[in-house]
């Protein structure tokens, strides 16, 4: 089995996780910028975080033979403070040329507020100006449906963004159509307690096909499982999905989307 983990917050994980992922067949990991579980007090805190994502973490992953890529932004959980968000947005461009940066993400909404929406629009504008891929975080639980609609409307209203260069992550049964119908990619996040379980993610594949869909563990500092993608692949085998269909979902699809950024290259493919 081979897979790409397209959404993992590795700065929160231990080295055993890297070993387990590589042992299970992981060929690349992509790390979106996110909330640390506490608010950073200044733009300088984000500068240090972006250095960690673009310098330190790729080196740590390389020790286990795993290519590490990243996405940059200020997370919607910290976007309520517009002044801080604008200061962070101002330092992002200097990192965009770095060799492992794939695009802007994970941007989106958290509590669907006006300030969050304003900061989201500024991220979308930055992505449009600098021709970056976009990775979208959709809100949690009761806020997901409304937030997904607001996010999709905001991106669709920006004509410089092509939908096939955007992935709407953390979709569930009530939001997947909103993403796919608008021409975006959709990501299913495999969590033990929220978002999608493995059986539900496979249900969504059986209902909507496997063309513009990927799966991720979104492993971070909370309850999450770095091996969620290969474990779901095993569940797909139990459901009699063919090996080539499984490979498409967990390897070929993320590679196809991410390769829209020329910096995404896997050692085997070069």
């Amino acid at each position: 089995m081979r897979f790409v983990e397209p959404h993992g917050h590795m700065v929160s994980r231990v080295t055993d996780d890297y070993i387990d992922m590589v042992t299970a067949g992981c060929e690349a990991v992509c790390e979106p910028a996110f909330w640390a579980g506490f608010d950073r007090s200044s733009a300088q805190g984000f500068y240090d975080y972006f250095c960690q994502l673009t310098e330190h973490e790729p080196k740590r992953a390389a020790k286990f033979g795993l290519p590490h890529f990243t996405w940059l932004c200020i997370n919607p959980k910290e976007s309520e403070n517009v002044k801080l968000a604008e200061e962070v947005l101002a330092i992002i461009p200097q990192f965009l040329e770095r060799p492992t940066v794939l695009g802007i993400g994970e941007i989106g909404l958290n509590k669907n507020t006006r300030n969050e929406l304003k900061v989201l629009e500024q991220h979308i504008d930055l992505a449009a100006r600098t021709d970056q891929l976009i990775l979208v975080h959709t809100p949690h639980l009761e806020d997901k449906r409304k937030g997904t609609r607001l996010i999709v409307d905001a991106i669709k209203s920006e004509s410089r963004i092509r939908p096939e260069r955007v992935i709407i992550d953390h979709v569930e049964e009530h939001t997947i159509r909103i993403a796919l119908d608008a021409g975006f990619w959709a990501g299913m996040t495999l969590y033990p307690e929220s978002k999608c379980t493995a059986p539900r993610a496979i249900d969504l594949v059986e209902m909507y096909g496997n063309e513009r869909l990927w799966m991720n563990s979104a492993c971070d500092w909370g309850v999450s499982v770095p091996l969620a993608v290969p474990r779901t692949a095993l569940e797909m085998r139990r459901r009699e999905h063919r090996p080539d269909a499984i490979d498409k979902l967990i390897y070929q699809n993320p590679v196809r989307f991410l390769s829209q950024c020329p910096k995404f290259k896997l050692p085997a493919a070069t």
Binding site: D143, L180, Y208
Partner: protein, 160 residues
């Protein structure tokens, strides 16, 4: 009078011939639908979703999934695989409601939302997971003026 080569049906005149053609076209609709959409499968299956929505009949959906190499199990197999797990989760739900009932306290909007979501399980259509998620969701569409918390609690506070 002539005999149709494939079906062997005898057709008396031109009017009957026309009616016969209409009947064949009517019966062949699913195949025609699939022929039309299978062209799209080559160019990108979900272009089909985007423009036409998900195929409506179970038959066409199955062939469409076959073309995408997505396998679906028989009902018996799904029960073999998931019945015990679902049974266990159902008993856990029942025990959770009993536990809540045994406890003293004020009404809580989360319980109201939970009961509303439970009623969705009795729906006939196979979109119960979506309906349960919607029962817990904020149905409004305007951005909120501000946020008093970063966290979500799992149910929309204004659920009756």
């Amino acid at each position: 009078m002539f005999t149709h080569k494939l079906t062997g049906i005898e057709i008396a005149n031109n009017q009957m011939k026309r009616q016969f053609v209409i009947l064949i076209v009517f019966l062949a609709r699913p195949s025609i639908w699939f022929l039309f959409h299978s062209g799209r499968l080559d160019r990108g299956i979900d272009d089909g979703i985007r423009r036409n929505g998900i195929p409506s009949s179970a038959n066409t959906l199955r062939r469409w999934l076959d073309a995408m190499q997505v396998k679906m199990m028989k009902r018996q197999q799904i029960l073999d695989l998931y019945f015990m797990d679902a049974r266990s989760k159902l008993i856990d739900l029942a025990a959770f409601l009993d536990r809540v009932d045994r406890a003293d306290g004020e009404p809580d909007f989360r319980l109201g939302a939970f009961r509303k979501a439970l009623s969705e399980l009795n729906r006939e259509k196979p979109d119960r997971a979506e309906s349960v998620l919607l029962a817990f969701s904020d149905p409004t569409s305007e951005p909120a003026p501000s946020a008093s918390t970063k966290a979500a609690c799992g149910a929309w506070p204004e659920t009756a």
